[in-house]
Symmetry: C2
Subunit: 215 residues, 2 copies
Amino acid sequence: MPTSAHTRPQTDSRRGQLLELGLQLFGSRPYDDVSIDDIAREAGISKGLLYHYFGGKRDFYVAVVAEASARLRAATEPDPALDPRSRIVAGLGAYLDFVDARAAAFTALMRGGLGTDPEIAGVIDSTRQVFVDRFVEGLGLTAPRPVFRTAVRAWIGAVEAASLDWITHRDLPRDTLLMLLLSSLGAHLVVASRLDPAAGVVLTDVEPLLGQLGL
Amino acid sequence: MPTSAHTRPQTDSRRGQLLELGLQLFGSRPYDDVSIDDIAREAGISKGLLYHYFGGKRDFYVAVVAEASARLRAATEPDPALDPRSRIVAGLGAYLDFVDARAAAFTALMRGGLGTDPEIAGVIDSTRQVFVDRFVEGLGLTAPRPVFRTAVRAWIGAVEAASLDWITHRDLPRDTLLMLLLSSLGAHLVVASRLDPAAGVVLTDVEPLLGQLGL
DNA sequence: CGGACCATTGAACTCGATTCAATGACGGAG
DNA sequence: CTCCGTCATTGAATCGAGTTCAATGGTCCG
């Protein structure tokens, strides 16, 4: 096979090196302010080589955003051994820690340059979808009722906005923010339950959570 | 809008015409896919004229986003004659109606192309700030405590995410979404109150609202 | 030892953004 | 009515970033 063992590591490492660099560059400067020459110079390679690994600048950017997404997802991988509430607390905590530690990568992902680009929007939306699915599944909500989908989606929006606000101002204890968002999730779910009586069955799963949250 | 090629009186602001066109174009295609030639051709003017009214393509884009922001703000202007709750309901309703009617302009604003561009981010953030201020002021929350600022900011994020979800799927009655978001606001405020006991004074303003929401 | 493959290069090319000197229409002043 | 200044408008020239590609050289495998 042409895909022998010796070339892959080399390829992967260079690709990884470029992605890491892209995370830095796009995390600190606008897309248009990062030229191919900049990337090549900082990576110590020629312009042309970038095209060996990526289809072009836009393609490279998409890969960088996808990389940021993958890291965020990996960092917040839920632990199946935990009960639902602990799993959410752990996942949300890991999310905040990631935001705190890798603010550049996070903003690069969320503020994603080239906003109306469907490919970028796809990466970001699928990332959000992963979180929606995790929480919906973790809570035992099987039927994807519109009200619940929108409620969870709204909550994800709240998490993202609060996270950006948090790392911007840095005037809130991490755990305070965590409690705020946890309560917000509970509230969204109970409100959704009341607005969609036909899905009343799930309330039995939601109520205990709310009790623990003090709502 | 006028369809005829040359029924345009001189009194018609060319600048306004271009902004209107930009709203359409950037609302339906990625930034990179809209060339100066495209804009000029569709506007029936020469490339060079665009530079007479705007500093350049990026500058033009910023102006378009600012225009979208201005329209959204104007459409949701609060009515001082109303009591706090009615004002919020009216404002939120107007917001949803705007999103519904001018989906292109809204997504152009919120998904703002060139995400990491500080100037664009500034326009979007200041738009959000206007909403934060309106709601905070409307509720009588004078002191901008971090917890409340973050809570309101999180709620704005929830509104935006829910709005995008709403116009994407269109499987939720407007008033259901409105109730969801209204309850979400109430929940965020009461949670913030509990997390920041020093700001307990504001609870007297929040509690009545919650009662009306059935929380 | 030879050949193939593949990472890598640098120069050439393309195409869109930007600049600018020239044009002409309009409106006011004499 | 005519001259003049202003200003919207143009089209061609320029510029630069993104992209392409044929050539190179090292490395591994048979």
